[in-house]
């Protein structure tokens, strides 16, 4: 009898304790949710709601109201828009590839030579924390058709005669984007190359590979995640850049952001601009997500 009642008491106590821990656990979870709440709320209010509104309005007819896909259809059948999108994407792609190729040896050198890194890295990082507008100013001082220092020097050397107008055309924009592309690529790539074990390369060299071959077959494949990350960053920055395309613009817009902005600000075709903005967002986010997916896959394989 006594053992039975004792067992019953123990059971009751056990349920009480487990109820208490469960309650405590729930309270803890509640506390954690409460702590995360402000951050979520802020982001929902100033990112998700505006983006949702943008999407919603892009599907509304501007004059009559009501659901309409006409802005998407109009955009995707507009040869001018598509041509500009094409030039935007090709400039972005070209600049990304060139920046990575030009920055790769420098990043490698900085990753391997500590002294050089400590001197050069802070110095070449300065452009990274400048408004892009300032880079535009620099490009104008360097390459403006008549007063640019480079143009004056070329004239003085007798290589060209008279002004050169390439700055206010697509080459000028590509050069300006390449300028900041190299800065970003150097920083990202040297960070990744620093984490690649140097001994792997030395082993390859000691087994008879030339340093170049060791780099190409050992170091470069291990640096691919960095190359992908840097490329995605540079590419998405370029396709949505606004300041340099406007400052260095010629008669023909080369960048998609200019078309969107002029639809929004001067032509008063707001909903058309919203639809185009959504299309650009989809492109930019797909690039980022694709890069993430490749990176995840790469991580599994290695």
């Amino acid at each position: 009898m006594t053992t039975a009642s004792g067992k019953a008491t123990a059971d009751v106590a056990a349920t009480a304790i487990s109820a208490l821990t469960r309650k405590r656990h729930l309270r803890r979870e509640m506390l954690y949710r409460l702590c995360a709440m402000p951050a979520i709320l802020v982001t929902v209010c100033i990112t998700l709601v505006p983006m949702g509104l943008l999407l919603w309005l892009s599907l509304q007819d501007q004059r009559e109201g009501g659901f309409s896909l006409r802005y998407y259809i109009a955009t995707l059948t507009d040869s001018f828009f598509l041509r500009t999108l094409g030039t935007t994407l090709s400039i972005a792609l070209g600049v990304t590839v060139v920046s990575i190729i030009l920055a790769m040896p420098l990043a490698y050198l900085l990753a391997r030579k500590t002294l050089l890194r400590n001197i050069i890295m802070p110095v070449i990082s300065v452009p990274r924390m400048l408004p892009f507008v300032v880079v535009g100013y620099a490009m104008i001082l360097l390459m403006a058709p008549v007063t640019g220092v480079l143009i004056q020097a070329l004239n003085a050397l007798g290589i060209v005669d008279g002004p050169l107008f390439f700055l206010f055309d697509w080459p000028g924009q590509a050069i300006a984007f390449g300028y900041s592309g190299i800065v970003v690529a150097t920083a990202v790539l040297s960070g990744v190359l620093m984490s690649v074990d140097r001994q792997l390369e030395q082993a390859a060299v000691s087994m008879g590979a030339s340093p170049l071959r060791a780099f190409g077959e050992i170091t470069l494949p291990l640096a691919v995640p960095g190359i992908i990350a840097a490329s995605a960053l540079i590419f998405t920055t370029i396709i949505t850049a606004y300041s340099v395309p406007v400052i260095l613009n010629g008669r023909v817009p080369y960048m998609i952001s200019i078309i969107i902005a002029s639809n929004l600000l001067t032509l008063q075709q707001h909903h058309l601009a919203y639809a185009q903005a959504i299309i650009v967002t989809v492109i930019a986010i797909s690039v980022t997500v694709a890069a993430q997916m490749v990176l995840a896959r790469y991580g599994r394989r290695v």
Binding site: A39, T43, T47, L54, N118, V133
Partner: protein, 273 residues
């Protein structure tokens, strides 16, 4: 002999290449500085009559913009850290089932292109009357700072073992004491770094703020941009661009001196706009 010669040419090649890239990156900025001290935009090689006339001619609206940018950058940075520290703590320590989802929501402003987020905010602000206002700019900047702040603080907390807090609690501290007396001092240096990086990237934000800025709420990057469109390039704008370069140099000097140059490599800060 040929081997020595090869090595000589390899080293020469490297030196020329590094010098070329570094020159290409620094020469345009040097031109801005030189032009600002010559007080003219047609630069000459004459360095005898350097003067400060361009700096003296910087109009008040530039100084107001700079001051405005500093103000909202500081407020946004502080607010972002105040919000993101508890959020990061909850996400790292809480082991909530929906953690990945929550953290991705907060990081969203980083993935959406700034110019698009700017346009989206304009549509929302026009409905609620926040366009071209101080508060509107601050909130826009906050969304960005918050994403950066969460990335920094999450990484920071993941690097700190939970045992310290648990030990304090075992010894009789309550949760709040454990957080305030143990976790906060451990996080402080990292938070200072995060604040510095968030502040400087707020200072240079352009695309996000361009569409929602107005005459009375105009960050310095937008002011420099609109002036070059309206008036062309002017000596006083070049002087203000130089001031932005000094700010960037000061930032990197602080980072290099306090944290060491290794912090500069890597992609922890995305450079957009």
């Amino acid at each position: 002999m040929p081997r020595g010669l090869t090595r000589f040419f390899t080293n020469l090649g490297w030196t020329v290449y590094v010098a070329a890239i570094v020159t290409w990156l620094l020469f345009p900025l040097a031109l801005i500085l030189l032009s600002s001290f010559q007080g003219t935009i047609s630069i000459t090689t004459d360095v005898t009559n350097l003067n400060l006339s361009a700096y003296e001619k910087i109009p008040d609206r530039y100084w107001n913009s700079l001051w405005f940018t500093i103000q909202i950058s500081v407020v946004a940075t502080v607010a972002a850290l105040l919000v993101s520290v508890p959020a990061a703590w909850a996400m790292v320590r809480g082991k909530l089932a929906e953690r990945r989802f929550l953290s991705n929501v907060v990081l969203l402003p980083d993935v959406v292109p700034h110019i698009i987020l700017g346009i989206a905010l304009l549509t929302l602000y026009m409905q609620v009357g926040l366009a071209k206002t101080w508060l509107g700019m601050l909130l826009a900047m906050l969304s960005l700072s918050l994403a950066m702040g969460l990335r920094f603080t999450e990484a920071l907390l993941e690097g700190l073992p939970e045992e310290y807090e648990l030990a304090a609690e075992t010894m009789g501290a309550n949760k709040l004491q454990a957080l305030w007396l143990i976790l906060m001092p451990l996080m402080a240096p990292g938070l200072a770094t995060a604040a510095l990086f968030i502040f400087i990237s707020n200072m240079v934000t352009f695309e996000l703020l361009f569409f929602i800025s107005g005459p009375n709420a105009s960050p310095i990057a937008v002011r420099l941009f609109s002036d070059i469109i309206d008036r062309g390039i002017m000596p006083h704008s070049v002087a203000m661009a130089s001031i932005m370069i000094y700010i960037s140099i000061a930032f990197y000097a602080i980072v290099a001196l306090t944290l060491g140059p290794k912090y500069l490599a890597g992609s922890n800060v995305s450079r957009k706009g």
